[in-house]
């Protein structure tokens, strides 16, 4: 970050006036965003933490309650309920399995495509870049509807060639449906990740290639020894963003569950949080939903940090 030369000023009074001007104008420009950020990021986090330690109980007590509903402080009871709920952990397990398979495949394909498009092997990079990126322009929800229909044998051009499993169409059956959804997200986001890699590749200085060529490096050597190591930080970012995206997996399972009606309402933790909030699951309520969200955020954050640290150690 460049900053105006404030240290070179000898007179103290002038310095402080300038500093004040800097502070006031800086805050004036940053303030609208900062306020909106507080309302959208900070306040919900605080409100989630607060509501996660309360629960709504009827003041009369008893199973059906009597009297008014009132908020009762319950400490960490909501967290305990969530953490001992098997459905929460199987949701986390599904999301984890999803991520550990889907993210490497998607990032790998995106990197391969970017390397091919960036190489001498391809003459018209623009067309390819556009056709791989186009699915990103389709909202995840619409993509899920389209692929969902492509998975129903009656409508799909290819799904009727595959057998039924456990009474469900192949792509919507219990062992397969997670991978059917992995396909949806791969389809949508591969092109976006490819763009991240392409931008990183284009930022590599050309002299590096020239020097390598003079030293007799082949195209393959340049790819493996220069290009791939040089896009490391872009890969780190792409993987981190993908982990975060996977944790919040919601649109795809929500759409698919209207087609595969066997899917539970807590198939992924995000679905569980939503349905708990909306009272479609028991136990329900704002406190419980907040507890789920906070636990998920903690798990996601630790995963991202773990990945980041592992990556750093590998690079050293």
């Amino acid at each position: 970050m460049s900053s105006p030369s404030v240290s070179a000023e000898p007179k103290r009074r002038k310095w402080s006036r300038q500093a004040r001007h800097q502070a006031i104008s800086g805050w004036a420009f940053a303030l609208p965003f900062f306020l909106a950020f507080c309302l959208v990021f900070v306040a919900p986090i605080l409100s989630a933490i607060r509501s996660s330690v309360f629960t709504m109980k009827a003041s009369g007590g008893g199973l059906f309650g009597g009297g008014e509903m009132e908020e009762v402080f319950v400490g960490l009871e909501n967290f305990q309920t969530v953490a001992t709920n098997g459905a929460f952990w199987s949701g986390i397990g599904r999301v984890f399995l999803f991520g550990i398979v889907q993210i490497p495949i998607m990032i790998g394909v995106a990197l391969l495509l970017a390397l091919l498009i960036d190489s001498f092997l391809v003459r018209r990079p623009g067309i390819w870049r556009l056709s791989y990126f186009l699915p990103y322009a389709i909202p995840g929800l619409v993509a899920a509807i389209v692929w969902g229909y492509l998975y129903i044998p009656e409508v799909s051009p290819f799904a009727d060639m595959l057998p039924e499993i456990q009474g469900s169409p192949f792509f919507l059956s219990p062992p397969i449906v997670l991978w059917s959804m992995a396909n949806m997200t791969t389809w949508t986001f591969t092109g976006y990740n490819m763009l991240i890699f392409l931008a990183a590749l284009q930022a590599i200085p050309g002299d590096l290639y020239e020097a390598a060529r003079i030293d007799g490096a082949s195209g393959w050597k340049i790819t493996t020894q220069i290009k791939i190591p040089m896009v490391g930080s872009a890969a780190l970012l792409a993987v981190l963003l993908s982990i975060i995206g996977t944790v919040q997996l919601f649109n795809e399972p929500t759409v698919v569950s209207t087609l595969a009606t066997w899917m539970p309402k807590d198939y992924t933790p995000m679905m569980m949080a939503y349905n708990t909030m909306m009272g479609l699951l028991t136990p329900s309520g704002a406190g419980m939903a907040s507890a789920i969200s906070i636990l998920m955020a903690l798990i996601a954050g630790s995963l991202a940090v773990l990945y980041f640290l592992a990556q750093r150690r590998l690079q050293k």
Binding site: M1, S2, S3, A23, I24, S25, G26, W27, A28, F29, A30, P32, F33, F34, A36, V40, F41, P44, I45, S47, A48, S51, V109, L116, F120, L121, V122, W128, S131, Y132, L134, P135, A137, P139, G140, L141, A143, I145, V146, Y149, L150, E154, V155, S156, P157, W187, L195, I196, A200, L240, L241, Q248, F250, N251, T258, M277, M278, S293, A297, A300
Partner: protein, 308 residues
């Protein structure tokens, strides 16, 4: 004999040396890949392109089909009837004539959120890049944290907060969350640091221009490429958002098109051709925007990610 190779003719330099010129726009012959390698790559890329494009092609055909044709006819061509008209009528009937309104709602939410969000982002990014103010580094940290925050997780507590404020089921419940884009601030910051010269700002200050005037008349122009990228980014994110309207919006008149389509497909046994037509019409504005602004996002969408 050498003159008859597939790669073209020999040329002669003014002093009489014969050489084989390179093709224009291609790498030097000595390091150019073989024709076989290029053909194989082309085949591979074409196959992958089919994976990405065929579902879109399929939607175009599926949206033109009656129920019977969807079941029986070949997926990648028209059926016996081209039923776009009938499917449109059915789409309107299923949605109680609200479908066009949903598309307009989406356009409204996305345009307003993207416009305001871009301005806020660029102003904050510019402030962090060009002003020394207390809390600047903390703010940078906040933005980076926000960048890696799973936003969907915030939606549940945001719903609680907004219902206390009494603004659920209003346009504000969609607009306010969507104008906040840590990515936009990040990109604006990176871009302002590299392409707004501090000398220019100082010159304008010496000439007596106020900070607001400097920002609106000079800085915004310098930041135009970043602004297009941020605009596009927020626009797409708002258009694609599903969980937020699902939680916040209950009246049919306020629904964006994603929520409307979901409601339609989750009916028992909907007219699938009509749903496909709705899906197609619901993404056309976005695809048009992407094609129209192609040269901007191709350069800019990933630019921030490289420098970070």
């Amino acid at each position: 004999m050498a003159t008859k190779t597939a790669h073209g003719k020999l040329a002669t330099t003014p002093d009489g040396l014969r050489y084989r010129p390179s093709h224009e726009g291609l790498p030097p012959r000595s390091i150019a890949p073989s024709k076989l390698a290029r053909t194989l790559t082309l085949v591979l890329l074409a196959f992958i392109a089919l994976y990405f494009l065929l579902p879109i092609v399929w939607v175009v055909f599926a949206s033109s089909k009656t129920k019977g044709d969807l079941l029986s006819s070949f997926g990648f061509w028209f059926g016996n009837d081209i039923a776009w008209g009938a499917n449109w009528d059915s789409l309107m009937a299923w949605t109680q004539n609200l479908f066009p309104r949903w598309v307009l709602n989406s356009i409204f939410y996305s345009t307003v959120a993207a416009t305001v969000g871009t301005l806020l982002s660029v102003a904050a990014g510019y402030a962090m890049a060009k002003f020394q103010f207390p809390g600047r580094n903390a703010m940078l940290g906040i933005v980076m944290t926000g960048l890696l925050m799973p936003v969907a997780l915030l939606t549940v507590p945001m719903y609680l907060l907004f219902s206390q404020l009494g603004i659920t089921n209003t346009i504000w419940a969609i607009l306010i969350p969507c104008i906040v884009s840590p990515f936009g601030v990040f990109l604006g910051n990176v871009y302002a640091a590299s392409s707004v010269p501090t000398e220019l700002l100082e010159a304008a200050r010496i000439d007596g221009a106020g900070e607001a005037r400097i920002f609106f008349t000079m800085v915004l122009r310098l930041l135009a490429p970043a602004m297009v990228t941020i605009f596009l980014f927020i626009f797409v994110a708002t258009w694609n958002n599903f969980l937020l309207p699902l939680m916040m919006i209950s009246s049919a008149e306020l629904k964006p098109v994603t929520l409307g389509l979901y409601g339609m497909m989750s009916y028992f046994d909907p007219n699938r051709g009509a749903v496909m037509l709705g899906a197609l019409l619901g993404v056309l504005p976005l695809i048009a925007l992407f094609l129209f602004l192609q040269r901007f996002w191709q350069a800019g969408l990933a630019a921030g990610s490289v420098k970070g």
